[in-house]
Subunit: 133 residues, 2 copies
Amino acid sequence: MKTMHKEHTLTKNQQIIFDLIDKSPEPMKAYSILFSVQKKGIKAPLQVYRALDKLVEIGKIHKIESRNAFIACHNSSCQVSKATAFSICEICEKITEISSASLSKYLANFKDKDGMKYSKYNLEFFGLCKKCR
Amino acid sequence: MKTMHKEHTLTKNQQIIFDLIDKSPEPMKAYSILFSVQKKGIKAPLQVYRALDKLVEIGKIHKIESRNAFIACHNSSCQVSKATAFSICEICEKITEISSASLSKYLANFKDKDGMKYSKYNLEFFGLCKKCR
DNA sequence: ATTTAAATTGTTATAATATAACACCATGTA
DNA sequence: TACATGGTGTTATATTATAACAATTTAAAT
C-alpha cells in the first residue's frame, strides 16, 4: 500500500475542544474552554492546553496572539497554520480571519534586507468594524 | 507662541524602564524587567506594567505579542506605535524590527473584502536567522 | 499664586494565562 | 512480544497581568 497522506484523526479531547471552538461565534479563551468542557470530563488546564497546542499545530485552529484566544480555521487552504491574518475590531472585539490571495502572496514572498525568507507569519489588523464605525 | 509638537517627557519610572529595554540586546519580559529595576525602587509588577503600557502607547517600545516581550523601537519614523513588523528566529529567538517601506506601504493601504481599512497592525514573521540556518 | 484636572505613583491582593513533572494508557509496528 | 510514540490524568507551580484604593505629582488654567 502506498504511503497515504495521514489525516489527523482527532483524539477525544481534541475533538471535544475543537467542536466547541468551531461552534463558537467568537474566539475562545483557554479557561473559558476549560469551564465549558468540565461536564465532559476535561478537568485540568493542561488537558485543554495540550489539545489547543495540537490543534494549532495541525492548523485546525489559530491563536489570536494579542488576545490570547483561539478561533477555528475557516480558511480551507490552511491545512497547516503557517500564514495567518486577522482583523480585529477594537470596540466590539469582533475577529475575522482574512483570506486574501494577494495579501498572502505578498507576505509569503516577502524578504527582508538580509534576504531572509520566512516560513511562517501572523498578522493582526486593528480597526473599527462596520457596525462600530 | 505656536503650538508645539508635544514631546513625551518620560517620568522617572518610564525612563528607568525604557533605558533598560533600550540597552537590552534582546526583548525583555515584564518580570525580568521587574527584577532588574528593583534596586532602583520599582518593587511591584504594576509599576512595571504601567510604564510598559505608556511606553507602548507613545511608541517608544513595542510588544512582541507571540513572546510577551518588549523591545525598544528602532524605527525613527514610528512616533506612535501603529504599524509594526518583526522577524523572529525560531531557534535562537533573535528578534528584529523590520522597516521596509514597501511592506508598510502595502499594509497601510490594505483593505479587506468589506472595504475595511485599518488603523493599526502587527506582523510577526517566523523563520531561521542567518546563523541558525 | 491658587486651584483644578489629569496623570502617575505606591501598595496589597488577586486574577488570568500557561507549564513542569510524573505515572499511566493506547496504538501502531518491528 | 517488545518497543516507540503520542495521548491522558493529576497535582503542583510558574508566569503574565489587572483590580482597587489612597496619596502625590504635574500641567494648565484661572
